[in-house]
């Protein structure tokens, strides 16, 4: 691992990072990968093609969304460039009955769970505070913008699964678990730590999937932690695993085992996926002000899509397939762009209508007042 910029030197701690693909895309499992190989062996070439396709599609989507922001069509964009393997691999380790609690950068996880990517843009275009109904979109819950808040919601949800008897019955086709995404920055939040305490205490069916993308806006991970983050899991009383998050196969295999363990009633675990935020934190950020170009180059050379493409080529996957994926990605991005521009503003009643389940006099009164006030201008200029 490169030393990230900070005033004090970072101690180099060796860790048994789980890896299946070396950085050049050859299959070379690390010693620590042994227990995860059976999960890797579940995969077929058709799965590999899906993994590749989704990584390429979301990267193109990511670029298109950033363009929309630059053109004033989105208030903000949150790029996921560089983190595709961690997200695609972990997402494919979930099952239909599982619930997924994202942070706000897990676009492709949503896509894999059945979300229309335009729904993500609706929130960033300022027409909704949410954007979709989780139960109708693969149990992919809403983005949460206050860092680590969702780790507790996920833990509570997993507690509910336990109370319902929806997990640990021994039936892998119906037993459910929760996966919650957060990052190295959020790992410093109190809520992330309280969630780990509660999860360990109640032995929830849950995986904490922490993407360590090395930067919390402009602050390096060395400011968040002087120990590899996966080691914190042990202190909370659960297994911690560090995986090469730019290796889609390792990300899948490690998460598949952790989710299987969670569904089987073996309790929660924490996965630290080492990856890198190649782009900015958001389109409001300028990483050239705080990041060393050499560090960026180091990670660009470890690009997850390039690595997996090399692996597929080594397997003999035909160029036609790779080209067709590029085409599909371009079509998808163009389609998203077209439909994003068609997003219409909601009626002003959205201000009031869902604040309370049962009418609150103040809100009812204010809605009526605004209606009267605004309609008083109707026709006044004619």
């Amino acid at each position: 691992m490169p030393v990230t910029s900070n005033d004090a030197p970072v101690r180099t701690l060796t860790s048994p990072t789980v890896q299946l693909l070396s950085t050049d895309g050859t299959f070379a499992p690390s010693e620590s990968a042994a227990e995860f190989l059976p999960y890797f062996e579940r995969l077929t070439e058709a799965d590999y093609r899906k993994f590749y396709r989704d990584m390429v599609v979301v990267r193109k989507f990511d670029t298109e969304a950033a363009n929309l922001q630059r053109q004033g069509q989105l208030a903000l964009w949150v790029p996921s460039h560089g983190q595709e393997a961690a997200q695609v691999g972990s997402a494919y380790a979930t099952r239909a009955q599982d619930h997924v609690f994202p942070s706000y950068r897990e676009h492709v996880v949503g896509m894999i769970r059945g979300l229309d990517m335009v729904d993500i843009l609706r929130m960033l275009r300022g027409v909704t505070l949410g954007g979709w109904t989780p139960e109708e979109h693969g149990n992919f819950h809403l983005y949460t913008l206050v860092l680590a808040s969702q780790t507790l919601h996920a833990t509570g949800y997993a507690m509910g699964m336990q109370l319902d008897g929806a997990t640990a019955t021994g039936n892998p086709d119906t037993d459910a678990a929760v996966i919650v995404y957060y990052g190295d920055g959020a790992s410093s939040q109190g809520d992330a730590n309280e969630a780990l305490v509660f999860a360990a205490s109640y032995q929830t069916p849950q995986v904490f999937f922490m993407q360590n993308n090395h930067w919390a806006i402009s602050v390096p991970v060395s400011r968040q932690s002087r120990t590899p983050l996966y080691l914190r899991a042990g202190g909370f009383g659960m297994p911690g695993i560090q995986v090469d998050g730019n290796d889609v196969l390792a990300s899948y295999a490690v998460t598949a085992k952790a989710m299987d363990d969670a569904r089987a009633g073996h309790g929660p675990s924490l996965i630290e996926a080492l990856t890198y935020r190649v782009g900015a934190h958001t389109t409001a950020d300028d990483p050239t002000k705080y990041r060393d170009p050499d560090e960026l180059a180091y990670w660009v050379a470890r690009d997850p899509i390039e690595r997996f493409r090399s692996y597929l080529k080594g397997l003999g996957v035909e160029q036609e397939f790779l080209d067709s994926v590029d085409e599909e990605a371009a079509d998808h991005a163009a389609d998203v762009r077209r439909r994003a521009l068609e997003i219409t503003s909601p009626d002003r009643s959205i201000i009031f209508d869902n604040v309370y389940a049962e009418p609150h006099p103040l809100v009812v009164e204010q809605k009526a007042w605004l209606d009267g006030y605004e309609t008083s201008f109707d026709g006044s200029e004619s």
Partner: protein, 338 residues
């Protein structure tokens, strides 16, 4: 608690004489019997029954899956309650003392209060946060506070506070049945005095305010423990020929203004009393709204009697800080002299 079995039999008692802590306990128990999705969560609420014993016996009766002794972390309690509510449960969270709610404040205001709105109505958050609040118990820092205005200021929350055992029994059940999050302020100095509880009917809706003593000279309004202070003030005033109309606010969000306005139309004078600091308080809000809606009925400005705009003081001087019947009457006199 053999005096108030309500679940079966035609010979079930219709009334009970209970302290508020026991009435709350009975209300919680009834809610748990009524709906298997109702859960209790909090610190020390299991075998101990909570530091005020409000959950006493519930752990033994309903088991550890429905009465959860949680880790000692308020944000964790509220945050996991949100997840449980998403899963269809109705968690009732106990915050041990008023001043300990703030570690959970972010989850309450940024998440719990907004979850339904963010989901455009797609989820409900039937979560009750119980907070024993207020002074008069001679305790240490963070144990005697009145933070209700913070929550009343937050859209998406409902805020209530009973003043007597009957209301405590019924309002607790109604709060748990609500599909909105309810912050339930329990006046801890009123936990122990007994009162009659009608076990057959609530009588007053959750969010209604109520005239608890009729009068003609000055309207006085308060909630929680302040109601008994106002009633004492009314007794003292009566001896001097001043007739106070006392209104128990009961609900802080929403505020039921109808009885207050009706009373002010009659008396022309309003004094609002509260233990909380007066600046940007529930009393300020009532003063502003009554001024807007009943300006021509008022014969004097609306006056507030509050705790001072200081931290809650050491208990040795709390009687100087907390509004007393005499402090209320001082304001009543000023209003009448205006």
């Amino acid at each position: 608690m053999t005096t108030q079995e309500t679940t079966s039999a035609a010979d079930a008692p219709t009334r009970a004489n209970l302290p508020m802590a026991k009435a709350l306990n009975a209300g919680l128990r009834q809610a748990m019997l009524n709906d298997p999705k109702v859960l209790m969560m909090g610190e020390d609420i299991g075998p101990l029954g909570g530091v005020f014993r409000v959950t006493e016996g519930l752990h033994a009766e309903f088991g550890e899956k429905r009465v959860l002794d949680t880790p000692l972390a308020e944000s964790g309690i509220i945050g996991t309650a949100i997840g449980l509510a998403m899963r269809g449960y109705r968690p009732v969270c106990e915050i041990q003392f008023d001043g300990f709610v703030f570690p959970g404040f972010d989850q309450i205001t940024s998440q719990l209060a907004r979850m339904r709105n963010r989901h455009e109505g797609g989820v409900t958050m039937p979560v009750v946060v119980r907070i024993p609040y207020g002074g008069h118990i001679g305790s240490i820092e963070h144990h005697q506070e009145s933070p209700e205005a913070y929550f009343a200021h937050t859209p998406g929350l409902r805020v209530v506070s009973p003043s007597n055992p009957h209301d405590a029994y019924w309002m607790m059940q109604e709060a748990i049945a609500s599909n909105d999050p309810v912050i339930f302020f329990e006046p801890k100095s009123r936990y122990w005095p007994k009162g009659q509880v009608d076990l057959t009917a609530a009588g007053t809706p959750l969010h209604a305010s109520k005239v608890v003593r009729t009068g003609t000279s000055v309207t006085v309004v308060g909630h929680g423990a302040m109601v008994s202070v106002l009633l004492q003030a009314a007794e003292l005033a009566a001896a001097e020929g001043i007739s106070l109309e006392v209104i128990d606010l009961r609900s802080i969000s929403p505020i039921d203004y109808a009885p207050i306005l009706e009373s002010v139309h009659k008396t022309g004078h309003l004094v609002v009393a509260q233990e909380a600091a007066g600046f940007v308080s529930v009393g300020s809000e009532i003063a502003a709204t009554v001024t807007e809606r009943a300006f021509y009925s008022l014969e004097a400005p609306v006056l507030r009697v509050s705790g001072f705009d200081t931290p809650f003081p050491p208990a040795a001087v709390e009687t100087h800080f907390l509004p007393s019947p005499d402090r209320v009457l001082e304001a009543v006199d000023r209003s009448l002299a205006y």
